[in-house]
Symmetry: C2
Subunit: 592 residues, 2 copies
């Protein structure tokens, strides 16, 4: 029986921390060796973290990454490892030195996988297709036909990220060349529901090709991205035989039997002339491993239960906050608590991520703050077990007004005074941050940030925007979900029941300015996330004037979003990361 | 004699303002017709402006752009026009609908030039190569071999942007196919010295190929970019026969004689089999224009004098400010004047861009503000003729301190109190902005933003950062340059002579915290703009500890830059636009 013991190291690297990442890889190689594994797959760009962005323009960084890989290579005696790193192209200098007014020509790099065996790099696979956001294309060239790896007679193909989903010649050539196990290295950022479609795609792929398939996906938070893990090992019928947990590191292992894999894949019979041609383009890296392992104790593969939509969103936020805070060297966070649901949810996520002792709530009342808000903030802090400071803003607000009065010359109060209150709060939070070294978490949700219902340098002031990509409707869902988890609810029920208000003037309600969130959120979904036109949204059943007003609010608040702190991406189209709009923009899309 | 009367419309479009851009194009076609021009070239993406960014993901926007182009097509009776727009690919649907977990697959677009004659689009050219920043690759596919245009027997080739600088088969095929005039549509963002290298490259190109060459470059500000114009018409020896002015709209015209252009270019004799093959790949669009124009009065081509480095930088800032302010619907700007050189230069640029009546200076003294600073700010406002408000920050600052005292629990003053002063100033500026609708211009320079010597939500608060890409050393150069222009200097000499200070604590000087700017600026140039390593910078003659300290300051202040307002790019590597660093970043590059 030909059995391959395969392991997937579902790893949480830190971008740029080459030494730390290598240390972690080597630890895991040790564990894999102990478990008598034949082949370990690490995620895409495991050495550098995903994505190092313009660090890739520093030649020294690329050198250091190659050196870091060599440290890994040296410990791979009796195990085959597939490790994501950044490879330099050999072909170059003439090309780079071509005359150009751009002068940005740089050394060509590849998003690569090193195939490592017997302390040598026996082959390299270069990623060919890049995600549509275009970010990888800033750095990497498209790769050519990757080799296959033959380990003790078992044929293994390697792809990186997107490449597996493009059923072009390059993947098909590997299958036609007799690949029995396809290993995909991935750094696939979380978005709601994506792990399920990834699993569906992989199932189809394995079943269609009759090839064992595995995805080694990254885990962890990196700035706006959070990786969900959910790595997979599927047999040749497309059945999931191992599934990594969501949002946690794990060494996922399984024994896969290659005996019933049809050589050349299910497609091998057809199209044989063409197959022959493309097969000849595939290099083979032959590896013989010392089979001194003897009889191995069978592995019971991990098979984590997939999470539901609300739970995976919640856990994405928790891990993203934990990693952003800790990887950036912070310990504690400060959060402005208003008594509303946004700041309540943010505080609960932070407490779950960092422990209640590392969360400081600051309640900053004004004359427009209701008694209920204060009670709810105090109640939340109590039930959550976090420290709460109360710092009134009224004296400061009043001094600002007096200082500005000569310039304002009797003009009536307007948005200016509302913003000023928010900015006094922002300054207080930042002062506490500066004095004690806490990171300020902002509390704005996606609905209000989309329409600009937020104050730049006010409630938008802080280092990390936890629920930036969470619509108001989803904020409520997440709050209810979390309340249902514990022995008793942590967020006061009244916070969930009261109509939302910014409390920046007497008796203010969000609905004075915005459509109800039940109307606003679907319009935003259509306009911001799906690029629908006015006509299409109206056709879906919304009032034309309301849609036009929302579109204008979105378009006119682009300048605010450009200065917003980064936050956690959980949808297909996160503000900032995924929606890059010009500020100077004469297009309104409202003409007939 | 075969003479082509060629015109270049050096145009200033607004991104997204399809109607406005088309109106302007049609006006210029009218002028060209009056001047009996044969062919008018407009810049790259003239219809949409450069770059529409994610507007391109809206199907309706792309439709509207095609419709806008049709309006232009309809007026091109007796003149040939080459107009930049966004073209949809014909091939698609099957490809777009391929299964993908990315689900971002979008309709393929091209950065295109429409060849328009006799009220028809007779051909299309699709850009093949993209700038190395990667932004265009987010939206556009690479084009295939473009056609050539034969107008009354005269053969014209068209390229877009970068394509001309890649001497690959596609450009060479056009030359080999007998192109006599090469028209390049361009949206080449300004950076210091780039117009000169563009001219050098074009001279070499025209001379080498023996082909008449012209670049139609865009002009105007668009968010972080400013386009400098400097369009060119060169004869087949590489001599400049017409040059557009810098930073202004202009219809540049010249008569070019094709009689001495060698058919097939200078390279035609060589390599004839290969030439033959690539020539056959070139489509020809044949156009016969009605030659009813009769004998034309000869044109005297415009030949603007190129600007020097300092002057072009200055004018870039002026046009960028003017366009950002006006295209975004603002009229007036507010600027915090400190009595220092950065805010002085910003105010002078703004006054030159918008008129002194549209600039409001706000001086906000604290107990640490020197008497000299106040005098210099007042003197600047007087000499510039701008309005000056004085709003002291001390009362507000003191109330903040009292409000925070219980939380701060006797901790000594530190950076917190310095930032707080800057933030009170930021709030006052924003309050004035909110109340009167002025745009706040920030005054931070590139040196301080690089090392994080600036306060988020404080001096960084505002809509547009005028000198964000100008090092402190260059700030002085620009200030001296501008002082030398007028009948008398506008910036007080003492502002230029006093050592720079943030004046946030007693007797503070920049040099208490930073190396002298004569040391700091070259280190930043090497580290930030040239991606040099510690070792390389030390080798260039700088102190290792100082270099390491500067590198750390740059790396640790990335989070501030991420929330900075956009500003004008004038160098190869502007902060923000051109330097995309992870915030969570474990790489320090300081290990031996």
């Amino acid at each position: 029986m030909r059995v391959l013991r395969i392991a997937v190291a579902q790893m949480n690297p830190t971008v740029g921390d080459l030494n730390g990442n290598v240390r972690r890889i080597i630890e895991w190689l040790g564990e894999a060796r102990k478990a008598q594994v034949d082949l370990v797959a690490f995620p895409e760009l495991a050495i550098t973290g995903y994505l190092p962005e313009d660090l890739l323009f520093k030649p020294r960084f690329v050198n250091d990454n190659v050196r870091a890989l060599q440290e890994v290579v040296q410990v791979c005696h009796d195990v085959v490892a597939v490790v994501g790193y950044v490879a330099r192209s050999a072909q170059i200098e003439s090309e780079v030195s071509r005359p150009s007014i751009d002068s940005n020509a740089r050394q060509p790099l590849y998003n690569a996988a090193a195939l490592i065996a017997r302390c040598k790099i026996v082959g390299n696979c270069h990623k060919r297709y890049f995600p549509s956001d275009g970010d990888e294309r800033r750095y990497f060239r498209s790769g050519q036909q990757p080799p296959v790896l033959v380990v003790n007679g078992m044929t293994i193909g390697v792809t990186i990220g997107e490449d597996l989903w493009h059923s072009d010649e390059f993947t098909q050539a590997q299958v036609a060349a007799g690949v029995e196990v396809m290993v995909n290295l991935s750094a696939s950022p979380f978005q709601v529901g994506k792990s399920r479609s990834r699993e569906r795609c992989l199932t189809t792929w394995a079943h269609t090709n009759g090839v064992i398939a595995t995805v080694a996906n990254m885990v962890g938070g990196q700035d706006e991205l959070v990786f969900d893990g959910n790595s997979l090992i599927l047999d040749q019928s497309g059945r999931v035989i191992a599934r990594g947990g969501a949002f946690k590191e794990e060494l996922l292992m399984a024994d896969v039997s290659l005996d019933s894999v049809k050589h050349g894949g299910r497609a091998s019979g057809r199209n044989s002339v063409r197959s022959q041609k493309i097969v000849s383009a595939v290099d083979r890296c032959l590896v013989t491993l010392p089979m001194t392992k003897g009889k191995r104790t069978p592995i019971v593969p991990g098979l984590a239960e997939p999470l539901g939509e609300i739970e995976e969103m919640y856990q994405a936020l928790v891990l993203a906050v934990k990693d952003y805070v800790q990887k950036n060297g912070f310990k504690r966070v400060a959060i402005g608590l208003s008594g509303g649901v946004d700041s309540a949810l943010t505080a609960v996520v932070a407490a779950d991520a960092l422990g209640a002792a590392n969360v400081l709530g600051i309640f900053m009342p004004s004359p427009y703050t209701s008694h209920e808000s204060e009670e709810d903030a105090v109640e939340l802090a109590r039930s959550l077990g976090i420290e709460l400071s109360i710092i009134p803003i009224t004296p400061t607000f009043e001094v600002y007004r007096r200082s500005l009065a000569p310039s304002f010359d009797q003009r009536p109060p307007d948005r200016t005074e509302e913003n000023l209150q928010a900015r006094v709060r922002g300054n207080i939070l930042m002062a506490v941050s500066n004095k004690f070294g806490h990171l300020v978490l902002t509390t704005g949700n996606k609905s209000e940030l989309s329409v600009g219902y937020s104050t730049l340098y006010g409630d938008m002031a802080g280092g990390f925007a936890v629920i930036k990509d969470v619509s108001k409707s989803r904020v409520y869902e997440l709050a209810r979900f979390r309340n249902a988890q514990g022995p008793s609810p942590v967020i006061p029920q009244r916070t969930l029941d009261r109509p939302p208000s910014a409390e920046l003037k007497p008796d203010q309600k969000d609905e004075d300015t915005l459509p109800p969130y039940t109307v606003l959120d679907p319009i935003l979904q259509a306009y911001v996330e799906e690029d629908r036109s006015l006509e299409e949204i109206v056709e879906a059943g919304f009032d034309r004037a309301t849609v036009a007003r929302v579109m204008r609010m979105v378009d006119h608040s682009e300048f605010k979003r450009r200065q917003a702190p980064i936050g956690v991406k959980i949808t297909y189209r996160a503000l900032g990361k995924d929606r890059r709009m010009p500020i100077t923009n004469g297009y309104c899309g409202l003409e007939e």
